[in-house]
């Protein structure tokens, strides 16, 4: 066995080892979450659980894409490795000057292009259009304003009247009034602020995203929702939660020193609990002086 063959075989082995390396750890689970939060759902090496009505579309697309990618890569890789082994330099072997005439590559390229066109027009665009084009009817949906700031998610519920109170930068107080709600506005009376996103299950949700300072990104992994939150713009996103539980809200865009701790929790619950929560969260409890101070 000559040297080039050894190298060829070694290369193949190396490729396989490298592809396998990460999968070695699959199936292991780490300890409890370091932050001490209790979050529902089974998280592991695949995609996070899906708790929204339309999330499976995104998942399906990602899965199809990866099978396609894998098939292409394997086919390509087989040809590649075959060439390396078959056409290595050795005594009595000479390269051919004339180019390969086979049309296979052309057909392969056309095939790839066609499949890409299908992915784009047949799969991606409809999903994108379905999730982005038409918001759900306002009357049927839970409406929440999401205001991002360094490094906090604020959720603003309109309360029973269904209209949000007026807000302005001048009223902002970091402790009592993070969103700058104008208390004199009658619509503001029943408005509720929260740092947790509670939502009723099986009902569409419209989130209006705004930011007070820098660009953030509103990421709900279990809802397959991600949308940049850009100061000076109000961007709506919508989705329908279908699975009750406690989930995470993440920031996906670098927003400063503590980008990583810009985390909030999302609770999907039945209508009754949601109503109770909405009632409770707005209440201000008095702090007893004698309580540890």
């Amino acid at each position: 066995m000559n040297r080039s063959r050894i190298i060829g075989v070694a290369t193949v082995i190396v490729v396989i080892v490298c592809m396998m390396a990460p999968t070695v750890v699959l199936g292991q689970t780490d300890g409890p979450v370091a932050s001490g939060h209790i979050i529902d759902g089974d998280y592991g090496y695949g995609m996070p659980p899906n708790a929204s009505k339309d999330g499976h579309n995104v998942d399906n697309l990602i899965h199809i894409l990866h099978w396609f990618m894998l098939a292409l890569f394997v086919a390509w890789g087989i040809f590649f490795v075959y060439c390396l082994m078959r056409f290595r330099a050795r005594a009595g072997h000479r390269a051919t000057y004339d180019p390969v005439k086979a049309k296979v590559s052309k057909y392969a390229e056309i095939g790839v292009a066609a499949f890409e066109a299908f992915l784009l027009i047949g799969l991606s665009m409809p999903i994108w259009a379905a999730t982005k084009n038409e918001p759900p009817a306002k009357e049927l949906a839970t409406h929440v304003r999401v205001v991002a700031e360094q490094f906090q998610w604020n959720f603003h519920y309109p309360g029973t009247d269904g209209t949000f109170g007026r807000t302005a930068a001048a009223f902002v107080d970091t402790v009592d009034n993070p969103l700058g709600l104008d208390r004199s506005d009658p619509a503001a009376e029943d408005d509720v602020f929260a740092t947790e996103l509670h939502l009723p299950v099986n009902k569409p949700v419209i989130c209006d995203l705004t930011s007070k300072d820098v660009i953030h990104s509103f990421f709900l992994p279990v809802m397959r929702v991600k949308q940049d939150v850009i100061p000076g713009m109000r961007i709506p996103v919508w989705f329908t939660p279908v699975k009750e539980g406690r989930y995470e809200v993440a920031c996906a865009q670098l927003c400063g020193n503590n980008h990583y701790s810009m985390r909030a929790e999302m609770v999907i619950e039945d209508d009754a609990s949601f109503a109770t929560w909405l009632e409770e969260v707005g209440k201000v409890e008095e702090f007893d002086e004698d309580e540890l101070d």
Binding site: V14, C18, D228
Partner: protein, 576 residues
Amino acid sequence: MSGDHHHEPSFIRKYVFSVDHKVIGIQYGVTALCFLFLGFCLIMMMRWQLAYPGETMPIIGNLFGEAAMPGGVMLPEFYNSLGAMHGTIMIFLGVVPLLVGAFGNYVMPLQIGAPDMAFPKLNMLSYWSYFLGGVVMLASFFVPGGAANSGWTSYPPLSDIATTGQTWWLFGMVCLITSSLLGSVNFIVTIVQLRVEGLTMFRLPFFVWAQLITSFLLLLAFPPLEAAGVLQLMDRLAGTSFFLPEGLVVSGVVQTQISGGGSPILWQHLFWFLAHPEVYVLILPAMGMVAEIISINTRKPLWGYRAMIYSTIFLGFMSFIVWAHHMFMTGMGTKISAFFATTTMIISIPSVVILTAMVISLYQGAIRFTVPMLFALAFLPMFAIGGLTGLPLGLPASDIHLHDTYYVIGHFHYVVAPGTIFAIFAGIYHWFPKITGRTLNKTLGYIHFAFSFIFINIIFMPMFWQGMAGVSRRLYDQTVYAHGDAVQSLTVISSWGAWMLGLAQIPFIINFFISIKAGKKVSDNPWEATTLEWSAPSPPPHGNFATVPVVYRGPYEYSVPGASSDYIPQHITTEA
């Protein structure tokens, strides 16, 4: 030529402020390799924090002072600085100067038979401008608040309100952009004007073509970033609000001193208008080098040479109209998204063509597994993975879940790290004999290759799983999220891969320095190659060629039937 009457220039004129493209190429190469190493050191430090969040970094942890790493624990602001500077250094100070400044400068004029670049003084100026930019970037680590920490993309408003390091970053970028602009003017003029007789455009080696298209991309894509940089400097220094809307409340303080009326999106458009072509700046010269090396080592003409050139031109053109696929999540309308998704799918086709051409070139060849060839071959599957994983990111629907996650990191690192950097190594091993007259040690080269290849995959492969799990990029500590904590073990693997990759470079570094002085001496054309640079002496003297060569044929005449040897150099008149 001028050799007979010119006197020996002083040391400074010859080696520091030289106007010889070869010296400048080496200057670029050495500086950029240093920066590449520095950029890698930064990420090795970050990988500690990622793998073992909040734990004291052993040995070097205490070297960085209270403001960065009190007690050896990395602070988030320092982590962000390292992240931003890793990106900046790798792209603007490492890879581009190596590919274009070093290899382009050294090899391209030789390949076209030119005595030098068209504007030698401009060439020197562009190196020193690059050097100045690098110094400014390095110095920014020592200003209060540390180096830029808003990511290499420097999205405002974050970068507008960031610490002083950001201003230095912008100044550094202006220097680097100036350098690239001067360089690209020089390259294009040289390639178009200074080709020797007989060397038509379609007899140019593919590497030269790649340099030409790259130069056009640099020339046309960089100025918008320069404009954006100027605007951001105005925002930071003159208090304008190009990127700031009204009514900002930062840390509870209403920003009344700014007028508002700007848009954060404006920066993203200007930035990505550069930064997408920049991706092709990073990959095209690498493809050019790989194509050269593959052709030489398969002893066979490049398959589909013209198709590759047309693809490259098309790629260059298309790269200007895909930029907003980086911005699917900014709330653009669905129609605009559809347009950019379509152009993105279209631009994938020429890449597929180039990759196919290169792999088909192997077919019916006689492959020599030399060290440069191994790196070049490894480039192909790595680039394939990088390219394929771009697919889910280019489609808006799947991008929803993967945008700004580790999937993106994995994707573009597969293109530029195992891709471009492997091509760079291939280039170093390949042209080292031309530059020094000696070869690098083979055994050390094989060791370097094998370990680099294994570890670089161990670094980046897990990132796809992390990304799928939904772990956002640029997180100081991903374990605060349940989905991040669940895949923390992958981070540890990735980190160990990075540190091992660092160790794997030791054979190369040893090899490099020893071989300069003590490597095996070789002939002018050790690889039995056809292109013009191998007809010059090694190392080439001032003025490059003893007699100006004339070209009679295309660049890849290997294994021509009936010829006595298996290659016919471009400048040989008739077959012997």
